[in-house]
Structure formats: structure tokens, C-alpha cells
């Protein structure tokens, strides 16, 4: 006869409520693990969707995600000419926050060369960007429809395609425009600013007496063109030819002034060890604390349940029940509570994880490890109850 099941059946209300409470707690533990995996996945999503071998950024920086980086767009030609490089494409990144339907609307905008690397990896609806200007592909999580317009910088952009759930390292949904549009949005000045700049340049040149009016006009046009140029990017990504030596290509680019070639592997390390390390530790600590709380709760429940059953245990001992009968009753209850709570927590997260504001990634390995931890905690927690039960004297069954 299974005494644990009989006890649970009799006190089912208490058991169900306790197990649901514990299940919610374990659900939080599971979601914490999922958030951590989600952080890693988010941090690497853009990186992985680009599928570049080398990220060339501004010298002495670890850009473009961990630090700010600006390099000239035309450096792509130099990089493409390096032996072993198959493709080189400039990319522009910027986080944008605007008002939409009266609410803050935040996303990560990627500008890419329409014939190069770094564009949307999949199109779920609509199409890719085909025109050089004013078209946009947005992430599914931005919840925008094909044909909708969004005003950025000086222009309106039309949504022509919907891509998957790629997000930035900050968890913001990703949108794509052409590189030229992204540069305009990021760097193009409005007409007043352009007029002011031109006047200032003209005034400064007019003060130089040795210049002829023709020279002054020529210089003014050239300086204005430079100051108004938007041909700056955050990185140039390169893909190598099959069999090309990554280190040789890196070595060659790093010999140039002003550039820092970062391999995809190094970029992953920068992202995971640098950007999300503290968040990872924080979440890890929370998980440990929650598991300790779960252990304390199970211990307390099992201990108080054992105290409630002192007379029962004493009676069982008096009628000759073996210790294994009593240990089995306590251990099985503890294990049942832990296992059922685990599946309640797991089921809860499975039903809700897509509704979390940040990505939750449930990895089978994490779930299996947590399951083993829950089993160990349940067994460990039952120890206090078992210890108490084994100390109960059969004589305690006597008396009123």
C-alpha cells in the first residue's frame, strides 16, 4: 500500500495548492534559464544572420555592437581586394525610438547593401527591398503590416516585407533599409543645417585674402560636399573564399591604419563575455536563490507534514512497520511534490513563453539539468523529515 499516495489523496487540497505554488516558483526558475539563453541568442542573432567571417571596424574599438565604430563606406573596396576575401559589404546599425500610436516604438535599424551581406535572412511575408530608397523590411515582432508607412529622419518609408524574429542584443526588433537610406537617416542634415554650414564655410573662406573668387567657390563646394557626405558605415563585413586563411586576412587588414578586423569567433566572445556577462551572472544568481528558496519550501512542507504525522509514524512503528515504509512515505511525497511542481512550472512556461517581452529559449539540456536538480532538492529536503521520523519513538503512539 502506498502511504504517500494515500496521504496526498486525503490532503489533496493542501497538496495541490502547495505544488502549484512550488510549480510557479520552478516556472520562474525555468523562465530565468530561458531568458539567459534568450539573451545569448538575441546577442548573437544579428551576428549569425549576417554569416560574415570578419567584421572590420574602427581601429582600437570592439564595434559595432559593443562599442561605437565609424569607418568610410569605400573601405569595402580595399577589403574586397585582400587575397582570400570573397565578399565585402558595408553595414550601418542604429537604434531608433519614435512615437507610434501614442507609445514609444523602439527598434534596431540595419542598413545594408542590397547586393551584399547583412540583409534579412528570411522573408515571411511580402518581399525583399528592391528599390534603393524608401523601402523597409521589418521584424515580425514589430507588428506592422505590408504597405504601412513609417516616418524616419526626413522621409517616409514603406513596409514591403516582414522578416522573422531577429532582434538586437538589447532585445529590440530589427528592421532593414538600404544602406543609403540608413546613412541618410543617421547622418543627413536638414536644409537649415545645410544652409548654415554652407554660409559658415563661405564666411571662413572669404577671410582668406589670397584666394581668388573662383578658388573660393571651388573650395566652398568641395568642403560642403565633404561635410554633407553620409558615406560612413559602422562596419564592413567580409566573407572569405573557401580554404582562405582567416588569420592571414586579419593580419593583412590589421596592418592598415584605422581598421580593426574582428573574426566572427572573437565577435561572439565580445558579445557573450562582455555585453551579456553581467546579465548572465545576475540571472544565474537569481536562479540559485530561487532554487534555494524552493529547497527551503519543500523542506519546511515535508518537515511540518512529518510533524503532523508523528502519531501516525509512532503507530506504524508500534505495529512493526519497517523503517523503509516510513522513509518511503516521506521521500515519495517529497519527490512527487518536486516532480509535479516541475511539470507545472514547465507547462506554464511552455504555454506562455512566447508572450514574454524578451525571448525565452528553452533548451532541452537546461530542462534536464533542472529536473535532476529538482529531484536532488526533493530528496535532500525530505532528509529533515526522515530524520525527524526516524527519531519518533513507538511509545509516542500511546496515551491520549
Amino acid at each position: 500500500m502506498n502511504l504517500a499516495i494515500r496521504d496526498i489523496r486525503y490532503h489533496r487540497g493542501r497538496f495541490i495548492l502547495t505544488t502549484i505554488g512550488l510549480g510557479l516558483l520552478l516556472g520562474v526558475v525555468i523562465s530565468m534559464g530561458g531568458i539567459y539563453r534568450g539573451l545569448s541568442a538575441d546577442a548573437l542573432a544579428v551576428l549569425e544572420s549576417t554569416r560574415a567571417d570578419i567584421w572590420v571596424v574602427q581601429q582600437d574599438t570592439n564595434g559595432p555592437f559593443a562599442e561605437s565604430s565609424r569607418i568610410p563606406e569605400d573601405s569595402k573596396y580595399r577589403i574586397k581586394s585582400v587575397p582570400g576575401v570573397a565578399e565585402a559589404s558595408p553595414l550601418s546599425f542604429q537604434t531608433i525610438q519614435i512615437e507610434r500610436q501614442g507609445k514609444p516604438f523602439r527598434f534596431f535599424l540595419i542598413g545594408y547593401d542590397l547586393n551584399g551581406l547583412g540583409g534579412p535572412s528570411e522573408i515571411l511575408a511580402g518581399r525583399d527591398i528592391r528599390q534603393k530608397h524608401y523601402e523597409m523590411v521589418v521584424g515580425k515582432s514589430m507588428k506592422m503590416g505590408i504597405g504601412e508607412k513609417i516616418h524616419l529622419g526626413l522621409h517616409d518609408y514603406t513596409i514591403v516585407g516582414i522578416t522573422g524574429k531577429v532582434v538586437s542584443s538589447g532585445g529590440d526588433a530589427v528592421a532593414y533599409v538600404s544602406l543609403a537610406d540608413a546613412q541618410d537617416i543617421q547622418f543627413k542634415k536638414d536644409n537649415d543645417a545645410i544652409r548654415n554650414d554652407r554660409e559658415r564655410i563661405g564666411d571662413n573662406l572669404a577671410g582668406i585674402r589670397i584666394l581668388s573668387p573662383v578658388q573660393t567657390k571651388y573650395l566652398k563646394q568641395n568642403i560642403a560636399a565633404i561635410s554633407e557626405s553620409t558615406h560612413t558605415v559602422n562596419t564592413v563585413v567580409a566573407r572569405l573564399m573557401p580554404g582562405a586563411n582567416l588569420h592571414e586576412v586579419q593580419e593583412r587588414i590589421s596592418r592598415w591604419n584605422h581598421f580593426h578586423p574582428i573574426s566572427a569567433e572573437e565577435q561572439i566572445r565580445i558579445m557573450t563575455k562582455g555585453m551579456i556577462e553581467k546579465a548572465r551572472m545576475q540571472i544565474g544568481l537569481f536562479r540559485v536563490i530561487l532554487l534555494v528558496i524552493s529547497a527551503v519550501i519543500i523542506s519546511l512542507i515535508i518537515y511540518t507534514s512529518t510533524i503532523d504525522k508523528i502519531k501516525v509514524i509512532a503507530t506504524l512503528k508500534l505495529i512493526g512497520a519497517q523503517n523503509r515504509v516510513i522513509i518511503g512515505m516521506i521521500l515519495q511525497q517529497s519527490l512527487l511534490m518536486g516532480v509535479i511542481a516541475y511539470f507545472i512550472g514547465y507547462g506554464l512556461i511552455l504555454l506562455t513563453y512566447e508572450k514574454f517581452p524578451r525571448r525565452i529559449v528553452l533548451e532541452a539540456f537546461d530542462l534536464q539539468v533542472l529536473f535532476v536538480i529538482v529531484i536532488v532538492i526533493s530528496m535532500g529536503s525530505s532528509f529533515v523529515g526522515i530524520r525527524k521520523a526516524l527519531k519518533v519513538e513507538p511509545a509516542e503512539a500511546l496515551g491520549g
Binding site: 500500500m1 505495529i319 512497520a321 515504509v325 513507538p394
Partner: protein
């Protein structure tokens, strides 16, 4: 193997709690024998030592001195006999009835009897048959699947008696079995114990201070200040 004359034999049993100046003698030089089928009372006021004597015979409380023999097996001789499995002996040779029935609250009446049988290695099927028969013989056939909380005091005590009788023990020890019952139910329980003692040829030793119930006993021992008087 010859017939065993006494189910319970106690010789010069002494139980002393504590040591030195704090030592308290709960029972001193107690000697008694109970034959199979006999219903015997240990009568005395609270604190007289009757429960100490009962627990020493019940293999719960180790005697300081003296001998205890249960169903022909020497269990105590100046302390427990080394190598004895007291739990197994309690399971096989003894049955217990308590003042407050001590039924397991989360088991039905049937399961409360079955647990004693299953602990003693009886199969589920056999235990169900035996427990059902026992409870039906005690007019509890309609209460098989009721929890103790749904039973009256008298019914609960009859289930406790069924549990004590389940393994057909040679000795039944009852600690104030009528204390929680009204006179009528108390008398019914005593009559039932008397009947079972005869039917099963079991020795039943009942601790009580309830003078209302003394009529049915074959013999009565008085316990006073740790001394046993026949």
C-alpha cells in the same frame, strides 16, 4: 513442539528511569503470567506504572531488570535479548489497541486493517480478503471505505481492534481502550475483547483505570506505586 502454557510471562520486571539521585523506579519486581485466551486487567491510578509495564511487555520500553517471555520467546533478560528483531516480534506476536484508536487518518477503515497485514508481508489480495472478513465480523462491513473521521468512537475502536487482531497475534496489549468511549460503547468493546480472546486463543492484557469495566476480566492485577498485586 509442545503447547505453550503462558502467552505472557513476566518475572521480577523492574524499570528504572534515570540514574543516580534522579533515578525513578516506575515498576518494581513485577511478576505475572497470562495464559492464551485469558483477558487480564492492569488496574491502577495514573502514574502507578501500569503503562510502563505494558510497554515493557510490548517490546517498546526496555526493562532494567527481570525477564519477559512472549509466546515462548525470551525477549528480555536483564535488558533485551541480543540479536532479537523487536519490530518483527511486534508485527508477528503482538497486537496493540490504544486509548484514542490511533487509526491512520488518511486510510479508510479497510486500509487501516490492511496496512498491518501488508507490513507483515501479506499480499494485497490476501490482505483485502482478511481485512474485509475481520471488519465484517465486527459489524463494520458497511464502513469499509469510510475514513476514521467519518466513524463514531465505538466504530473507530472496533476498527482498531480489527487491526490489532489482523495478524492473529498471541498477545494483545490494550492501553485504556475504553477511556474515550461512553459506558455502553466501552462495555461493547470489553465484550468484544473477551470474545476475541476466547475465539483466537489470544492473551489480552488491558491497562485501565476505568472501574466501570472490571466485570468482564478473568483476572485483575492492581498496580500501585510501581508494585503489582494480583
Amino acid at each position: 513442539m509442545g503447547e505453550i502454557k503462558y502467552a505472557i510471562e513476566v518475572e521480577n520486571l523492574t524499570k528504572i528511569y534515570g540514574k543516580g539521585v534522579t533515578a525513578v523506579t516506575a515498576i518494581a519486581d513485577a511478576t505475572l503470567q497470562v495464559k492464551p485466551g485469558e483477558l487480564v486487567a492492569l488496574l491502577g491510578p495514573s502514574g502507578s506504572g501500569k503503562t510502563t509495564l505494558l510497554t515493557s511487555i510490548g517490546l517498546i520500553n526496555e526493562p532494567t531488570h527481570g525477564k519477559v517471555v512472549i509466546d515462548g520467546t525470551m525477549v528480555a533478560d536483564e535488558g533485551w535479548v541480543p540479536g532479537l528483531d523487536l519490530k518483527r516480534l511486534r508485527r508477528e506476536k503482538l497486537g496493540f489497541i490504544f486509548q484514542a484508536h490511533n487509526l491512520i487518518p488518511f486510510l479508510t477503515a479497510l486500509e487501516n486493517v490492511m496496512i498491518a497485514l501488508e507490513i507483515n508481508h501479506m499480499t494485497r489480495k490476501e490482505a483485502t480478503v482478511r481485512a474485509t472478513e475481520l471488519l465484517e465480523s465486527l459489524n463494520l462491513g458497511h464502513r469499509l471505505y469510510n475514513y476514521p473521521s467519518a466513524l463514531s468512537g465505538g466504530e473507530a475502536q472496533r476498527v482498531a481492534i480489527a487491526r490489532a487482531m489482523a495478524n492473529k497475534p498471541k498477545v494483545i496489549l490494550a492501553d485504556e481502550p475504553t477511556a474515550a468511549l461512553d459506558t455502553e460503547n466501552g462495555k461493547n468493546v470489553m465484550a468484544l475483547l473477551k470474545k476475541l480472546a476466547v475465539e483466537n486463543n489470544s492473551a489480552i492484557l488491558v491497562v485501565t483505570h476505568d472501574h466501570r469495566m472490571v466485570e468482564g476480566f478473568d483476572r485483575i492485577f492492581h498496580v500501585n506505586d510501581g508494585r503489582l498485586v494480583n
